[in-house]
Symmetry: C2
Subunit: 351 residues, 2 copies
């Protein structure tokens, strides 16, 4: 059974067909449709009429080949299931769509080879710009070869990295977390917290190093300390890794006053595990996450977190993309500031 009607010889309509129908030249059709030059009202109406009647849809491939602009953006993330990435993508795509851009979205699963393959696929398709998230640009230490490859591609198409990468002039959009972490640790301190654990992350991912260093430094500033046995920081960034890290924490015997998780997914997993072992959050233990993902507000109690403003995040990305595409000047590094969002997981009813 043939469902798709392409079997029938439905040759696509071209501007030549339109030019014949409207009794004008192909160039005039092009002019009317693109508005690139003035056309007499009569011919103009004839063309538009012919377009209507024939259901003409310009072939974007031919347009792009001639104009060398695809009005298409490439977007590379490790995993679109991760709400952090899907939130950003959602808002960027809407902005793009409203401005005549379509977006190619690929999942790298964080693997170097996949990233390379995807970059090639996107570049081959001549996307106007590429947003690169996760994977190699979050690696610790960062791979020189990986960055070199990015620079190679950046010579062919404007790239935008959403992490801080030293030693490259590729534009970067990164988060500046010192203010939020300071506020977070101050808040914990005000809730009577003296000791804290750090959960989740991976030693080969820079965000762990960055956030851990900030937590330790800011915690110290408020007289809060941690212990080596409470540093369960190489379990990953997933919900499941949060469960595992929490399970390990429970086997320490001694518990800290607070558990600071590397992100909200880990926090959600940890919360689940801690509760299933009979602990009350926040009565027995304070809990914090990071990023302001949807998980932080759907679990009970809600998780205190350092949240990004995703619509703003996306707007920044889109602006930088447009600058890249139009070869306008832009700062090499743009910073984003997450803000502390206090929820039930750190709010003790009776202080």
């Amino acid at each position: 059974m043939r469902n798709h009607a392409a079997g029938s010889p439905h040759k696509a309509v071209t501007i030549y067909d339109i030019s014949r129908l409207a009794g004008v030249s192909p160039a005039t059709v092009s002019r009317v449709l693109s508005g690139s030059a003035r056309v007499s009202e009569a011919k103009r109406k004839a063309v538009l009429q012919a377009v209507q009647d024939s259901g003409f849809l310009p072939n974007a491939l031919a347009q792009s080949l001639a104009s060398s602009r695809t009005h298409t953006i490439g977007f590379l993330v490790p995993d679109i299931k991760n709400p952090y990435f899907s939130s950003i993508y959602y808002h960027v795509e809407i902005l793009a769509s409203q401005n005549g851009y379509a977006v190619l979205l690929a999942n790298s699963r964080g693997a170097f080879e996949n990233e390379s393959r995807i970059l090639q696929a996107l570049t081959g398709r001549r996307v106007d710009a590429i947003v690169f998230m996760g994977g190699r640009i979050d690696a610790f230490p960062c791979s020189a070869a990986g960055i070199a490859e990015l620079e190679k591609f950046n010579r062919m198409v404007p790239l935008l990295l959403t992490s801080r990468v030293e030693g490259t002039s590729i534009p970067q959009l990164c988060s500046r977390e010192d203010g939020a972490v300071l506020a977070l640790m101050r808040h914990l301190s005000e809730q009577g917290c003296r000791t804290f654990a750090i959960l989740g992350g991976a030693e080969d991912v820079s965000v762990l190093h960055r956030r851990r260093a900030l937590m330790l430094a800011c915690g110290c500033r408020f007289g809060m300390v941690t212990q080596p046995k409470w540093a369960l920081t190489d379990t990953g960034f997933s919900i499941e890794s949060g469960r595992q890290a929490a399970a390990q924490l429970l086997q320490c015997g001694e518990l800290p006053d607070a558990v600071c998780c590397i992100n909200d997914m880990v926090a959600a997993g940890a919360l689940q595990q801690l509760r299933s072992d009979g602990l009350q959050i926040p009565q027995d233990l304070l809990l914090t996450g990071f990023d302001g993902e949807v998980f932080s507000e759907v679990v009970d109690p809600g998780i205190t977190t350092a949240a990004f403003d995703y619509p703003d995040f996306a707007q920044r990305i889109f602006d930088l993309l447009m600058r890249g595409i139009h070869q306008e000047p832009c700062a090499p590094v743009t910073e984003l500031y997450p803000h502390l969002t206090i929820r039930g997981s750190t709010r003790r009813e009776a202080p």
Copy 2:
């Protein structure tokens, strides 16, 4: 400051450059790269060497224009932030990528005009096929004009609808939920449930009608009944709508034994609201969701749900897409069966 190096005249390499470097004709270069015809080993090596040296990347636009195949798929969802859609997309995109396809992903936000605009953008870019999810094909009653427009596009590019739509021959992949709902209601009955409420959904969305009818019918079969005041079925499909519906339910005075939610997001929101009002799940009230989204397993207690096998879901989509692209025969309607997944929200420790 100019970051992107496109300012310098880095003209892209073409097969003409390669042909000159390798001392062969452009046609031979094309043959080597596509493997479309036999080429002598000597010239073959010369071409590949030139490709290596120059860092040549074929212009996919030109390839597509000449071959009329883009190796690109269009994907239209209401909201990629919704884990139901991001799960499906994730797996489909990986399959596509592994098979040389890239995917354009657009968010329609469920709006008819956006869907039309996106279909046009995708078709104009000559994608090889389009996956259409949500929005008009989930509408109740279904809009004849909407379907007519889909058929118009289906004449230009193979479409795949992920809902059941009567009166069209466009291929459809839909879920067959009678088995799962029957198992669900039986399970509730075995847990001692005699009365139940239905939460979430929208009267103008078909999934509500379908699932509600099944729940009522299957519930009846096990002697379970509901009441009009417990039908809070026009609040939406979001987490927030789950909170609202639950809040309304609590004002009924009398509570049912179980709360059946239209999906897992509603269930997660309802759970949050019910707990914050002091109700114990599952002790005071059983709770169920639908779809097997990540929310159902991250909250506490886990939510009993009818879960899809997302990797399989995606595989089906991809297979149907390939059939459409290659104009191979395919069943007009393919069915998918979610399976009952029992979690803490309906499991009473002491029966």
